[in-house]
Symmetry: C2
Subunit: 491 residues, 2 copies
């Protein structure tokens, strides 16, 4: 059948439609046994007081990193996006650059020259030379990126976090993040359409695993070549599902709080700096808090209750999608969390725990992974008990390699395809008793509803943005096609 092609987008749409009729649903990642090229694990010996380690929460032991790298790429072949003929030809590109640690320290210690700064840092156990070196590496990547965009005739604007506004994002056809995975998270947080690609450039391959970045740890000398590939269409689209959160509260929704300085009266300029939303402290800025769009308020009749929601309850869609996970639980780490949870359309169940995470495939390598993974110690103990209980001395609990392989396999099963249109929930330290009967603390669902019974609870998006979520509030979390994040990957 001949069709008139007016533009690439039309071709994409056509191919997409054709594929949709025949697509297989996403499948769980297979266990991969063949040895794979291992990503280089670089020793980040940074011993500074502020562990600037944006993506440590996503790092895996070598054996798992390799498995993940293979798994995610293999699965993505099944993604719908792979049926589109890739093309990356934006006219206007926005670059979100992180602030380097060196830049931050210079800002904090205004008026100090570099020698003085070096002394101050040394007293704290930080290494000035390392900071400067990383700063230079970051800017080297950044300069190459800007130069290649210019050579390709693409207009670009460079912003840092405070200039990363919705307006700036709307202006652009595509967004690049220059930093680590944390910067990528920040960049994607303001992109709500699946048609605007977000591409991560890992400018700190030593410090960041770059799971969400192009080629993960692309050496700087290869960046120009990689960008050329991109402009020539030699790549594939990778679609990362995200979580949409709709909250109903007694008194509307509080404003978002950036998880940084929880201690009052602390001078913002001295707030601890890091690139990672899920690390201690981000530099706070009043304008930044305000730059988060206020939640979209809607009044709704609650279908599930079959009653009219009293007029004072407001339902809002949070303006930020979660790319990794949503955490719901008490703000205070040593306080027990109470809530009710309902999967899909099932009845709500009461739970008591240390909180719950709801994650995407992207997030399944992150906090979710660290909560659920088993250690070799644990696997060994269990194998020994099974051997004794079942009278099976052949079970190799004393064989370190066997234990390690079994441990790896178990942990690998925790990770799933970023493209999978389901949410994985994970209950931390679940407490079971007569009032709170045992349930599976891990599982999948298409939609998850949570009713807070909390005292000082919060709902935290990607470890960085927090909304108050106390007794009386309810949240619905789901994955929607239109919320998908479009990124790129090389095969």
């Amino acid at each position: 059948m001949r069709i008139r092609i007016r533009n690439v987008e039309q071709v994409n749409q056509h191919l997409r439609n054709a594929y949709l009729c025949s697509t297989q649903p996403s499948v769980a990642p297979k266990t991969v046994l063949a040895p794979q090229p291992r990503p280089v694990i670089v020793d980040n010996g940074e011993s500074s007081r502020y562990w600037v380690d944006p993506t440590n929460h996503m790092r895996l032991p070598k054996s798992l990193a390799a498995a993940l790298y293979q798994t995610q790429n293999t699965q993505s072949k099944r993604s719908i996006g792979n049926m589109e003929k890739p093309s990356f030809q934006p006219k206007k590109v926005l670059i979100l650059s992180k602030l380097t640690r060196y830049e931050f320290e210079k800002k904090v210690h205004k008026g100090c020259d570099d020698d003085q700064l070096a002394t101050i840092l040394k007293k704290r156990g930080s290494d000035y030379n390392r900071l400067l070196s990383k700063h230079k590496i970051h800017h080297s990547y950044l300069n190459t990126l800007q130069r290649e965009l210019e050579n390709a005739g693409i207009e670009s604007r460079l912003v840092r976090r405070f200039g990363y506004t919705q307006e700036a994002v709307d202006w652009a056809d595509a967004v690049f993040s220059a930093g680590g995975d944390g910067t990528f998270l920040m960049a994607s947080s303001k992109v709500r359409t699946k048609h605007k690609p977000v591409i991560g450039i890992n400018t700190d391959p030593q410090g960041s695993e770059g799971y969400m970045c192009l080629m993960r740890k692309l050496p700087e000398e290869n960046l120009a070549g990689a960008l050329k590939k991109l402009f020539h269409g030699n790549f594939e689209w990778l679609y990362r599902q995200r979580i949409r959160i709709t909250v109903t509260g007694d008194d509307g929704i509080s404003d978002a709080i950036e998880l940084h300085d929880q201690q009052l009266n602390r001078d913002p300029s001295t707030a601890r700096w890091t690139d990672n939303p899920r690390s201690p402290a981000r530099e706070i800025d009043v304008e930044e808090c305000m730059s988060l769009s206020p939640p979209v308020k809607k009044r709704m009749i609650s279908e599930s209750d079959k009653v009219v929601v009293p007029i004072e309850k407001e339902t809002v869609e949070l303006p930020v999608l979660a790319l990794n996970e949503v955490f719901v639980g008490e703000s205070l780490s040593s306080r027990v969390s109470y809530y009710e949870i309902g999967l899909n359309e099932e009845q709500m169940l009461k739970q008591k725990s240390s909180g719950i995470t709801i994650c995407t495939g992207t997030g399944s390598t992150s906090w979710h992974f660290n909560i659920n993974k088993l250690t070799e110690q644990c696997v060994q103990d269990l194998m020994k008990i099974v051997a004794e209980h079942c009278n099976l001395p052949q079970i190799p609990h004393a064989d370190k390699n066997a234990v390690s392989e079994i441990c790896t396999k178990f942990n690998q099963q925790l990770i799933f395809d970023p493209d999978r249109r389901q949410l994985a929930f994970s209950v931390r330290d679940p407490i079971f008793n007569a009032t709170f009967p045992p349930t599976d603390p891990r599982g999948f669902a298409d939609k998850i509803r949570i009713k807070s019974r909390g005292y000082d609870a919060h709902l935290v998006i990607d470890g960085g943005i927090s909304y108050r979520f106390n007794d009386g509030s309810e949240a619905v979390m789901e994955v929607r096609d239109e919320d998908t994040l479009r990124t790129v990957v090389f095969r």
Copy 2:
């Protein structure tokens, strides 16, 4: 050999000395397979907004509760204390009574009569009748206790939490707590000598497991008889080890904060009430905060560093011993914790996790247990992987009973003797990578040192008392004989 006996204490001392020469060190609890009488698990259907559930964090599934009940009693036979001839003949007894939920609500809603209160509670999903009923039960126990003490010629004083001062404790020869395990924790927190017994009376057998209380869930009609047994010496001493914490900080130690209302400007009288330190909110009171003795400050030369500690570092022994556990980690539940840990005299290791708990045998059924326990889902998954990996189809992963038994055995191994003179540490969600190499996240030590590398971290005792513990602070935790808590148990 004849010795002149002047008093019972001398006999005790003599027996103690004799035993000390021959004592065996505490051993880990054995796995108990024989069926044991199961404690009654009562359904606490309380659906109130404020889950008044002091000890839910200590509840276990039936199979484990039974095992625990047997295990702890069996082990205690080996305790040194069992060689003393028991005698309980105090002249003066202090009774610490909890505030019942009913009393609290009446206080909060001053000026409302009971009908109005009933309406208010109903709107919140709470049951007025149940509250009143529990209130009466509590006072029935309390009256019996006071009456029996009087009949035995023992002077007693009754206080609630705000009257529970060091002065009051010092006045008494023994302390009774009337409430649940939470009240027992509170009572024992001010008893620093191992010669002053603390006895828990569980006045809420429906709501509290009473692990630390006499007979755990003693029916009210049996209380008088139990007390008579006590006065006649028909019991055994049970010694519970506790954790002493010594902290060295850059600027001394902050005042203790009771973990209750973290939100500023909240009227204390409306603060959420509970008996459990590790539940949301306790009713706060300025006088109460101040009634915690300020930490004992001492200047010390740090032996481990072999240098003179700079004059601005202060070393203080915290005035509260931990009976369950110490938690060290970031205050904010979604923030990653950084710290260094050293077991005994070993080198300090850097760690990154969601925090660490250090517990006693008493605490091993509590938070520590819930962090480390495996669920049947997890055990089944792992058994399946072992079966496939080792080609052992006989492994009964599909057999629910086998899985349940194996799961129980694994979890049971987490629990140890309250009398054991060691600390168990447990790292939550440990993050392993090149900077933070894998270590066993669970283990024992005689002494544990932690150096904070935290941003807004705290050190939390028994889930109720929190001390700021940021970068620059160090804590040493150990078990000392003189800190033992003396309690009673019936065989």
